[in-house]
């Protein structure tokens, strides 16, 4: 797929050291639109949309922030903790608003699977269907995310 000038600009902002230390693409050599399209295929197969995933991540993040410090058990199924650092970061897709510097660690108590995400992850999934490139420190495999966040839906795969 040919990249638009806008995509090239966004790809440039996703390089290491521009917005975040390691960037957003990891070792992924594919063009941005291909990375997004491949993950969209996985979501289609599992019959879940990116905004639905983001909403679930946001719910768990918000709940965990009710705890002044440390992790909390949510809905009897998850242990979740969110660490917040003062300051904000922009979205690499030239997009309005800044995101808080957060890291949420979520363990699904039944399977024991732990995943972690940031406020920027939630925003990028919701608004851009972007789960980051392979090998990026905050790459979220849609399959794993769904297994943790929607255990019932994961059986459909």
């Amino acid at each position: 797929m040919k990249q638009t000038p806008q995509e090239l600009l966004v790809t440039q902002r996703m390089q290491p050291g521009v917005i975040t230390l390691s960037g957003f693409l990891g070792i992924d050599q594919r063009p941005l639109n291909e990375i997004i399209a491949d993950d969209a295929q996985t979501l289609l197969r599992l019959d879940i949309t990116a905004p639905e995933i983001a909403e679930r991540m946001q719910y768990l993040t918000d709940q965990s922030q009710q705890a002044y410090e440390g992790g909390i058990i949510i809905d009897g199924s998850y242990e979740v903790e969110t660490e917040i650092t003062r300051g904000k970061l922009p979205c690499p897709f030239l997009h309005r608003g800044l995101q808080r510097k957060t890291v949420t660690t979520c363990t699904h108590l039944t399977t024991g699977i732990t995943i972690r995400w940031t406020a920027l992850n939630i925003h990028m999934i919701k608004e851009h269907g972007f789960f980051e490139g392979k090998g990026s420190p905050f790459r979220l495999e849609p399959g794993t995310l769904i297994k943790v966040l929607f255990p019932d839906a994961a059986h459909r795969s």
Binding site: V18, R86, L94, R96, R100, F138
Partner: protein
Amino acid sequence: MFVSIIQDIGITSLVSGGLALILVIAQRYLNDYGDCKIDINGKRLITLKGGSSLLNALSENQIFIPSACGGKGSCGTCKCQVLEGGGPLLPTEKPLLTTKEMTGNVRLACQIKVKSDVRIHIPESIFNIRRFQGVVSKIEDYTYDIKGVIITLTEPETIDFKAGQYVQLETPIYAKVRQKVGRAYSISSDPGNDRQIQLIIRYVPEGICTTWVHQYLNEGDQISFTGPYGDFFIRDTSADMIFVAGGSGKAPIKSILEYLSRVGTTRRMRYLFGARTCKDLYLTGEMHAFEQVFDDFEYIPVLSKPCPEENWQGRIGYVMPVFPELITDPANTEAYLCGSPAMIESVKKALIELGVPKDRIYYDSFG
């Protein structure tokens, strides 16, 4: 045949040379904005050659608008009001401005090119901001993820700041980081020592600046920062004071206490420091030592999850339940908070419920 080729090459070179010359002249003509004036707050007038960004034009004239991304249009900290001469709003600005800011002529100083006379408005405190060079004279490990860094100033050699203010540390180009970025850090030392500043920096995994400080910065290294910024400083009243901090939030409170111990105060002060385990506590002896300096001061560390093997004898839980015991006259209490936005929210709510006036709760509002 040969002559004709040479002639062709000659003509082609002449044409392309001519075109290049026209382009250079056109570029020079098009980019020559002549002398432009920047009127700042109707108080200061700068004259400069047009063509550079407003942010750079101002910093070349020793006016430092906060900037955290090196002018790349990605942090949104360089906002200022441009009343005239800013030109149309650019696509790179829109993502970082609210609708209210757009209608209020707020612009990103790093994105606007000075091409004509410009009239801007900036907060008065920005006139006091300078760029400083210094040398790292000491790095100490306070906890497994917090370091204290002392910087001795070299150019200029002194700094004038209020206890509680912060500086913007410039992260250089290092490892994978290809551009300079700036990050805010509260000064943790006494303003009475104007030749050095101390910062307390907590490591953030995958963080640009903190990875540099924790893994690359050494004693003796050169360092640059701008400042001072912020209005998180103590108010000159006789009200009781409660300080609440967590993690690296100890930095500005330490500066305030050192300042007060030098100038003297009889105000009633209580300081709650929230941490998880004993491993997250630091400078505990130094904070307790203030109990001998002030007439009415107490330092109370509170651990939310002390490990059994730590044999912690102090308070356990969150800081909020301790408030009713410590705050004896809520209406006459000022609160100074420093920590994560989540901590500030919970603490603020509890203080208001107790009767501490909302407008007497102070914190850096950059969540």
